[in-house]
C-alpha cells in the first residue's frame, strides 16, 4: 500500500469526538507514531515531491556577532505590538500583545501589553522610593536596593486590562485579529516581595481595610485595594520573566494583584497608604466602573473572570487547505486554575474537551489544544473555559443578557465602549479558508 494512502486511512480512523471533525484530545498520546505518520501523510498527500536538499548561503559562512541583548530574527519583524498612540500625543497609549503570532503560556517581555495613561516615566532606580504609611504603627520608606535584599517569591500571573476585548461589546462582530480584540492581556513569571511582609513590618492597624496604591508617573495614578487582597497574594513585583520589569510594565517596581483588574496592579509603585475606606479615585470612580443596561454601574469589579479565546486558527491567519490542524488558545481566570476548556467546530452545537498544557497555574495562562480535521466546509470555532471555583465562561447570549451590547456597531477598535468582557470568541471559517470574526 502507498504510504500516503495508509497514513490517510490512519487519520480517518482517529476518533472524532464532536461535530465538524474535532478529534479526541488524547489522539497525540494514543496514536503516537501512527498519528504522527497519519498527519504527515495527510499534509503531503497530493503535493509535489520535495526538492533535493542543498546548503544555503548561511550554512557556508560564519554568522553575525553574538550580541549582548538578543532580539528576534529579522524574519520575525512583523511580530510586534500594535500601538494606539504612536506619536505620543498628550493622552494615554496602549500596546497590544500579538497573541495570534505567539504560542505557549509566557508573553515575552518585549511583547507584554502596556497601557500608560501619561507616557513612560524614566525612573532612576537609585532615587525611587516606596513609602508605606497611614494606619500603620510606623511609616516606612524603602529603596529599590533594600527591597532587592528581601526574601522573594516567583509566580506565574496574567495581567489583564479590564478594557481588554472591549470591541466585542459591539452589536456586530468587528473584523479584527486576536491581538486587536484580546491584546490587552499577557502572562509572565513575576518575582518580588510579598506585600504582606512589608505591611507587617510597618505594623497594620486592625481598623485598616484598604490600601491606596499610587504610582510615580505624572498622573500619580492611584487605586484602592482591599486589605483582604493585599494580605492574600499581593506582591511588590521587581522581576518579569527573570529580568527587571520593563518600563512599560512598571519599572522599577509594581504592585501585582494576581487575577485583579490590570489598572489596580499599580506600576511605578511609590506609595501605599492604609486607610479605613476606599479613595474613590478617578480610575475606580469613572474609568473602571462598568455601565449596565439599566443605567446602574458596577463598582469594585476587581476580578478578571474566567475567559478563553482561540489564537490558532484565528482572524489574520490563513488556512492551508483541508486536513489536520491544531486548534490552540489561551484560557485564564482571576479565580484560580483553569479546570476545563471545551472546543467546538460547529458554532457551539457540539463540544470536545481540549488538552491543557501542564502545569496549569492559578491565575495564569493555560494553553489549550485540540486536534481537528478540517473537511474544507464551513466551520465556526469556539472555546469555552471553566475555572476550579466552578465558574463557566458565559456564552455570548448569556453575557449580553446581563451586560448588554452597543446600539451601533463599534467602528473604532481602540475605543472602550464598556469593560470586563469575558464571553466566547467565535472564528468563522469559510470553504475558501478565509477566517472571520463572527457571533454564534
Amino acid at each position: 500500500m502507498e504510504p500516503n494512502i495508509r497514513a490517510r486511512q490512519e487519520l480517518e480512523r482517529l476518533e472524532v469526538v464532536a461535530g465538524n471533525g474535532l478529534l479526541n484530545r488524547r489522539a497525540f498520546l494514543r496514536g503516537g507514531a501512527a498519528f504522527a505518520a497519519a498527519v504527515t501523510g495527510y499534509t503531503v498527500a497530493g503535493s509535489a515531491a520535495a526538492e533535493p536538499l542543498k546548503d544555503d548561503p548561511w550554512s557556508l559562512e560564519m554568522g553575525a556577532v553574538t550580541p549582548p541583548l538578543q532580539t528576534p530574527s529579522r524574519f520575525e519583524k512583523h511580530v510586534v505590538r500594535t500601538l494606539s498612540n504612536p506619536n505620543n500625543e498628550l493622552r494615554n497609549s496602549h500596546a497590544r500583545t500579538p497573541h495570534h503570532l505567539l504560542n505557549g503560556t509566557i508573553t515575552p517581555n518585549s511583547m507584554h501589553f502596556s497601557i500608560n495613561h501619561s507616557g513612560l516615566p524614566d525612573i532612576d532606580p537609585a532615587k525611587h522610593r516606596l513609602v508605606i504609611h497611614g494606619m500603620v504603627r510606623q511609616p516606612l520608606v524603602f529603596t529599590v536596593e533594600s527591597l532587592l535584599r528581601y526574601p522573594m517569591e516567583s509566580r506565574m500571573a496574567f495581567v489583564e486590562c479590564s478594557g481588554n476585548s472591549a470591541p466585542m461589546f459591539s452589536n456586530q462582530p468587528v473584523q479584527a485579529t486576536a491581538q486587536a480584540l484580546h491584546g490587552l492581556v499577557s502572562c509572565s513569571e513575576w518575582t518580588g516581595v510579598r506585600l504582606s511582609t512589608l505591611l507587617d513590618e510597618a505594623g497594620i492597624d486592625p481598623k485598616a481595610k484598604w490600601v491606596i496604591a499610587e504610582g510615580a508617573d505624572s498622573l500619580a495614578l492611584h487605586r484602592s485595594v482591599p486589605m483582604k487582597k493585599a494580605l492574600d497574594d499581593a506582591m511588590v513585583g521587581l522581576y518579569q520573566n527573570g529580568e527587571r520589569l520593563m518600563p512599560g510594565n512598571g519599572y522599577p517596581m509594581r504592585l501585582l494583584l494576581p487575577g485583579y483588574q490590570g489598572n489596580m496592579n499599580v506600576k511605578f509603585l511609590r506609595r501605599l497608604k492604609l486607610t479605613e475606606g476606599p479613595a474613590m479615585s478617578y480610575y475606580e470612580g469613572k474609568i473602571y466602573s462598568q455601565l449596565l443596561p439599566d443605567g446602574k454601574a458596577y463598582r469594585f469589579h476587581f476580578l478578571q473572570e474566567v475567559k478563553s479565546f482561540i489564537t490558532h486558527p484565528s482572524f489574520g491567519l490563513k488556512m492551508n487547505g483541508p486536513g489536520y490542524y491544531e486548534i490552540s488558545g489561551i484560557a485564564y481566570s482571576g479565580n484560580g486554575r483553569i479546570s476545563r476548556v471545551m472546543v467546538s467546530a460547529d458554532g457551539g452545537k457540539t463540544w470536545a474537551q481540549a488538552a491543557l498544557q501542564e502545569p496549569v497555574h492559578s491565575k495564569a495562562f493555560a494553553r489549550f489544544r485540540a486536534p481537528w480535521r478540517w473537511n474544507g466546509g464551513p466551520a465556526v470555532l469556539q472555546s469555552r473555559a471553566w475555572d476550579e471555583a466552578g465558574n463557566a465562561q458565559p456564552t455570548r447570549a448569556e453575557f449580553v443578557a446581563v451586560r448588554g451590547e452597543t446600539k451601533k456597531p463599534v467602528t473604532n477598535l481602540l475605543s472602550f465602549p464598556n469593560q470586563h468582557y469575558n464571553s466566547i470568541t467565535s472564528w468563522g471559517i469559510a470553504s475558501d479558508g478565509e477566517i472571520k470574526h463572527v457571533y454564534a
Partner: protein
C-alpha cells in the same frame, strides 16, 4: 538522636509561631514621619479627608480654566481634538452601555473631580495648580454640570457636601472581596 529531632523541631515551631517568622524579615525600611510624606500624600477621600486649605467659585474657576485647561478641553470644556470628550452634560445613563461618562451623569463624588485635577492636571504640568486654583476649577466644572451655583464657594468643608446626581447609581460587584 534520630527519634528526638522531629519532635524538638515541632515544639520550637509551635513555641515561636508567627512571631519568629516576623522577626526573620529583613526590616530594611527606614522610619519616616507623616510630615515628610506630605508632598506625596495627595489623595482626597470622598468624605473630604485630605482636602487642602483654599477656596474658589465657578466664576473664579472660569478664568483658571480659560488660562490653564481650555487648550486641551476646549472653550468652556466643550472638548477639542486633544481631549474630545465634553466635560459637562452627557446623556442619561439608560441610553446604552456605551454612554459617555461625565461629571454630571456619572461621578459619584465631587472629590473625584478635585483629586484628579490636583494630581493630574494640567496634563503637561501636573501638580502646579495652587489650592485656590484647584477649588476654583472644580467649582467651575461642577457649575458647568449644573450641580452648584456660580458663586457657591468650594472649600474643604463645602466640597464634600455637594451631592452628585449619580451618587446612588453604583452596585458593588464583589462585596465579599472587600
Amino acid at each position: 538522636m534520630c527519634t528526638l529531632k522531629p519532635s524538638v523541631a515541632l515544639v520550637l515551631a509551635l513555641a515561636f509561631g508567627s512571631g519568629a517568622a516576623l522577626a526573620q524579615t529583613p526590616r530594611l525600611g527606614k522610619p519616616i514621619s507623616e510630615a515628610d510624606i506630605k508632598a506625596w500624600d495627595i489623595a482626597v477621600m470622598p468624605d473630604g479627608t485630605g482636602l487642602p486649605p483654599g477656596s474658589g467659585t465657578a466664576t473664579q474657576g472660569a478664568r483658571v480654566f480659560a488660562e490653564k485647561c481650555s487648550g486641551c478641553h476646549g472653550e468652556g470644556g466643550k472638548g477639542s481634538p486633544l481631549a474630545p470628550a465634553p466635560l459637562f452634560g452627557g446623556a442619561p445613563l439608560t441610553s446604552g452601555i456605551e454612554t459617555p461618562k461625565t461629571i454630571g451623569n456619572f461621578f459619584g463624588y465631587s472629590t473625584i473631580v478635585f483629586d484628579f485635577v490636583r494630581r493630574a492636571m494640567p496634563f503637561s504640568q501636573p501638580r502646579t495648580l495652587t489650592g485656590d486654583e484647584v477649588y476654583a476649577a472644580t467649582a467651575y466644572l461642577l457649575w458647568l454640570n449644573k450641580i452648584i451655583g456660580e458663586n457657591d464657594v468650594m472649600d474643604a468643608k463645602t466640597l464634600p457636601q455637594v451631592k452628585m446626581p449619580n451618587r446612588d447609581g453604583f452596585i458593588i460587584r464583589f462585596p465579599d472581596k472587600i
